[in-house]
Symmetry: D2
């Protein structure tokens, strides 16, 4: 995570202030539950809420941690400074640091997921709008980078919509994966803390109790979470790659929006570079790079070790902040993408009529020509277009073997673009519903 | 994938014979649908089914492919040899190779997922059985590899059960991700093939039609699939790591089953090594290694390129065969794991009574000692145990400052193991239901 | 590794026959050394060499291993069947399985590296030839996929040559990393085997003795080896990506060689797809996927565990066989690449003269115009070319502010291509020498 | 990178101030070279050096970049504010942003490598000292976590020394990989900037000129650099894993140094956890996570795209800062590691005498017993020790079949530890010289 690729709302999820605020809430809710159970005096539970509106002093907590080398103890010491040492003496009773740390981490991930879900919804709205705008904007479809058959720009946006819609579903599942909390004490046996404390804290904080924890919440949940971010990032790369291709000089079917004062190159003033989507390609690599360490974090030793912690201190903020930024950037790119329908037509006609070769092939076979012969007939005319710049329709009309099978009208009909777009509505209905 | 780590049922999913059989079914069902639509003659559709019980000649197909350098054309040529060139001339009409290849790949992945789901169910059964068997077998819980507080071996099995149960759910979701098919023709516009053909083929083969494809089925689906396998593999590593730790000489709380003729070491005949779980650790690394290439496969160029294909030819079989083998191996390990309850007790008592220190700490604070003072009191007695081999209970009874706060009876009560196991039933109910 | 992407010489390195042959040589040389040291009788050492020309029966060894579950013991049992049980009784004395397995693995990796080095030399030869052939073939250089300034196709080949030449050096270093052997006995103390045995065996087999082993050869060596393969694979992707771009319909500056019978598409007979370089892109992902497991293999438990073994049984053959195939395929692609110089010129002139904008910018500043003003002057004319298809030279000549700074001759001179190619010889000398 | 895991010297390498300082030096040296060549006036070159001692205003540069969206143009604008717009007008002439950015990045990586090399030398010194200190401290060697045969703690330190010494060599090679600079202008043709400018700048800054660049320095260099960091990180994990194992309660052969005020657990005051080495395990995962994105950065489009940039803005600082911190932390751990030789002996004798089984096996075969029979003899006595807690030496002395082959004296001699340590000096000489 670096400021250049960060947005404030997501950064705030990961601030020290947010973290300590959540720690406080967990401890205070736990005190309430313990008071309800008669384990600690009600007055002490109530006293803790005095810190509800206090600002926790991050520098002071760091100072204490420098001595104790233990962050939760440092926080509790500071909390006692606010609440009063005597009043605070039941805080954290029967709990371990991990109860606080793991529940907090999951709350942060859940909040991060909520932001990512909102980001994705915004991206979907942009894709949907552009899809309908360009539903009938014909462009050539390409396989292997080579012209294949006509499609429409609307279908391109629609397929990204469908992909991102799947990602929305995956993000929601990923959110559920980590929306659990644990207040189960040392090695998770609840020996020193009643399971009802966990239930109360989780309910107050919008989490499910972790069915079985071992001081730590099991890390397969987090592995699944970060793996999902990796999939979303790869989809971002997918969209970015399409736009980079569309903007390259020889294609130029679309361009990222280019603002007034922006300079494309210090040396070449005419250049408009797809720098946003290139940037997104790199950001996708970074979000993906969190997946493997998250997978390596699953196998902790016995009931817990702390090897996962340094990893999560980094990938927690890094992957979510970067992905949030990337989704927002991509939404902007889609929203403002400058589309050039004329270029699309010009490109499609680079090899005059050749993209219709499959239709002709089919027509020949349906007219009774064997598939092998039809293939040869098409190929020999196609090669003249490819190599000599001929017009495919003209060549076919002049080929006697073709004409033996197909009339002039039948040949001409094969060059109607409507043939290729006739199912666009069907596909849109599948993707967007009616 | 190598034979050493393969099981026949999963290997069969990926055989050339299986692949060609699926190709055939797709083509034959597509012909049926085209005949229903009046696009091709009914007789030709029916003729294709003549190959229903034929053995496809893999060597012959390879031979044709060596010339055409195109696998689907090679297969169709061979199919025509069986069905008759004339009868077969409408086969594959309006379709592209990818319609066949991608739908087939998804069928194979779906079948592979079914096997993995069955594997997981078998593993869950073994874990559940062992969990109940050792529900009350007390052992020391460890954080950081250091003795913490008592837990039970049943809880250890139960937490692996809960983790694998989540993995079962993830596998089912992953199966859904890839249970789609596409018969949408070049660049996915259905220009040359009616969407109803796709619907019919998918219905016959147990798939959902891909809402929008572009000649290829979008690869975010496969990325999510393989990412899930990576999570499952990491959980396998988690269980394997626990067992490796339990078997190490100084711990020896459990051992992998050691068969009669087996030799642990060519040099050291007494050795019994946890080679199965070490092997599983390595296999987990391999399954995980499929995740990144699968993520890199998402960003194809325009409507499709074929960079994903070589990756999938490898990770398709490799990751599923290896994971199938690993799940089955782990099930065997769990099923036959030799557990040593006496060793567990002996280990727990290595530092006499020390694991009860937290209970004493809590009792002191509840008796009115400040947290800081209680911490010091516990620590000074704990250190005698740690450094001089003293007995913790004896030391506490002899410490006048402790006795000022707690009676002998109160101290002795702190060393009752039942305190730590009192919520085992609660946790089991959460994990296994009632 | 799958046959489709395999070449026989590299496959042979990893065959069971090769493996057992190396095992035999290690054992036989070790016996010689032990006889020299007087540890075992000379006659027994000599007897072992009776198996020198024997074919080891892989099926028989597998059969024994099925009982012993130990591959080296199985082999030694079979060896004794050939040599005679009594004569063979000193074979492997004081050694452990790992002495044999690890030394063998390193010999296989070293041989694999030798093949990869030869592959790389062949690729370099092809790149060098094509570089000189197209040293002066002007094409447009592109940054961000956008036309920048002219370069030559020879420089493109030359930069790939320079990159692959670095990879050749890296492969040689990687070979050295793994060209060690160890015969150090259980936990590597030489307690039961004299260090001079290790020295003799290593010398006979072209290896360096591992300075300190612990039964296993340390896995940082292998991590460095596979990481190097990952770098080489990424360079292959780099070259492949360039060619895929060059072949796309709108660019078409080069094409992969297209053999006579080859069919590009089952549906679109005119298509010529860059399938080899797309395939190389996928293969690069697979070779790279070996890097992380190799890194994860480094941290073995204590003196050794066997988690690395299953990983290496797969990535050893897979990564080297795939990389060998990819290097050879890329060499073929480079060798036979069809280059279209006319297309290159046509593309360069798509935006008439615009690629010379930087030269004009410089000329203006050198004529005393401020950088800001010069930038504006260039940009306003560039935009006419970009947006209205004007000719840049013509526009500049007609722009009075430009003419105030530059004469007609000065402007016209800026459109000379020789300006951009004047240092090609210098660069070639740097890359190829003389 | 986060402050918790950062050290100031390495952080400074990556500060905005350092970056702009290097940018300035590149521009100023380039002006000198251009003045030498007569391309720009000497006075202008000299004027640039006025900024030599200036503080660049990072906020001001950010402000300009917010408008221009181009960082190098923003810097040059600010530089002109310091030097004077007229005097500065030849700065950057003929160069591109990448000339500055890529050369700067390589300087930063080179400086980072220098720090890592110094870190590694400090680690080596600590390992060497501890190795010699514990050269003869006997402990049990373990394979598969199971007792094997005796070794010494000195050999453990020595093998880590040897591994890190290889890593030192690798770091030096990695430094060379990236110690290049490029001032080759747009698409690297030197059309607008003389190659001698590059030579001068590189010489002044301690770099080699990149033989052939394409506006960017080829990224295979950086891939090799980060791959090396990944190998080093994996070795750190290797050492950390050993220490974590040694500290676990049942083993307790060593402990990380535990400072006075430090608290191991908020709940369990007696605990001393190997938190530093657990932390190092996590940090190793993070450094490794930079490898794949660095490999993915190699394949840029044509002469350059900017997808690599966001990746490098993150992994450049992150991987080097984290690795620097990890190396320093590991050096501290090694330096202050508390070693318990008595525990080592106690552990070795857990199964009384059993670790000598291989010696007995060898003695039996050398006394003429067949390998199979000797194996059985050893195993039947070993099993009594393993299962019934017998003493191996006593059992052997009482086994008549053993005594038929070996005398009492011969048996007793097999239990001498000196046998296992006799080659320690040889190995130390190999590792440390002399």
């Amino acid at each position: 995570m670096i400021p250049r690729y960060s947005r404030p709302e997501m950064v705030a999820v990961w601030s020290a202030e947010t973290k300590f605020r959540i720690w406080f809430e967990i401890e205070a809710h736990a005190c309430d539950a313990m008071a309800d159970l008669g384990v600690i005096p009600r007055a002490n539970a109530e006293a803790v809420w005095r810190a509800k509106d206090a600002e926790f002093d991050v520098a002071r907590i760091d100072e204490i941690e420098a001595v104790t080398k233990h962050d939760v103890i440092a926080f509790l010491t500071h909390l006692a400074e606010i609440v009063g040492a005597d009043e605070a003496r039941f805080v954290h009773q029967g709990m371990t640091s991990s109860d606080v740390l793991d529940t907090t981490f999951n709350i942060q991930l859940t909040r991060a997921a909520d932001i990512l879900i909102a980001d994705m919804e915004a991206l979907l709205a942009a894709l949907k709008r552009r899809a309908h705008e360009h539903k009938d904007t014909v462009r050539i479809g390409r396989s292997h980078g080579i012209h294949a058959e006509p499609t429409t720009m609307g279908l391109t946006f629609a397929r990204f919509y469908a992909e991102m819609d799947r990602n929305l579903r995956r993000l929601r599942t990923a959110r559920d994966e980590v929306a659990t909390g644990a207040i189960s004490g040392a090695v998770g046996t609840f020996a020193n803390v009643d399971p009802r404390v966990e239930e109360h804290v989780c309910e107050q904080l919008g989490l499910q109790p972790e069915p079985i924890s071992t001081q730590v919440i099991p890390r397969d949940r987090h592995a699944a979470f970060f793996a999902t971010l990796g999939v979303v990032a790869s989809s971002i790369e997918n969209v970015a790659t399409e736009i980079r291709h569309m903007q390259r000089t020889e294609v130029l079917e679309a361009e990222e929006f280019f603002s007034a004062g922006q300079k494309g190159s210090s040396a070449m003033p005419h250049k408009r570079n797809p720098v946003l989507t290139e940037n997104l390609t790199g950001l996708a690599r970074m979000v993906r790079s969190a997946v493997t360490p998250a997978l390596e974090n699953v196998a902790l030793w016995h009931e817990r070790d702390i090897s996962h912690s340094s990893v999560e201190r980094m990938i927690g903020p890094d992957a979510t902040i970067t992905l949030d930024f990337a989704l927002a950037r991509l939404t902007g790119v889609i929203d403002k993408l400058v589309v050039y329908p004329e270029s699309m037509l010009a490109n499609m006609n680079k090899f005059r009529g050749l993209v219709m070769s499959q239709r002709v092939l089919l027509a020949l076979t349906q007219a009774g020509v064997s598939r092998e012969d039809a293939y040869s007939l098409v190929q020999r005319n196609a090669m003249k277009v490819w190599e000599a710049g001929a017009d495919f329709e003209t060549e076919l009309l002049a080929d006697q073997d073709v004409r033996n099978a197909l009339s002039e009208e039948e040949i001409r009909e094969k060059f109607d673009l409507g043939y290729h777009t006739k199912h666009v509505d069907t596909i849109f209905a599948r993707v967007f519903g009616n």
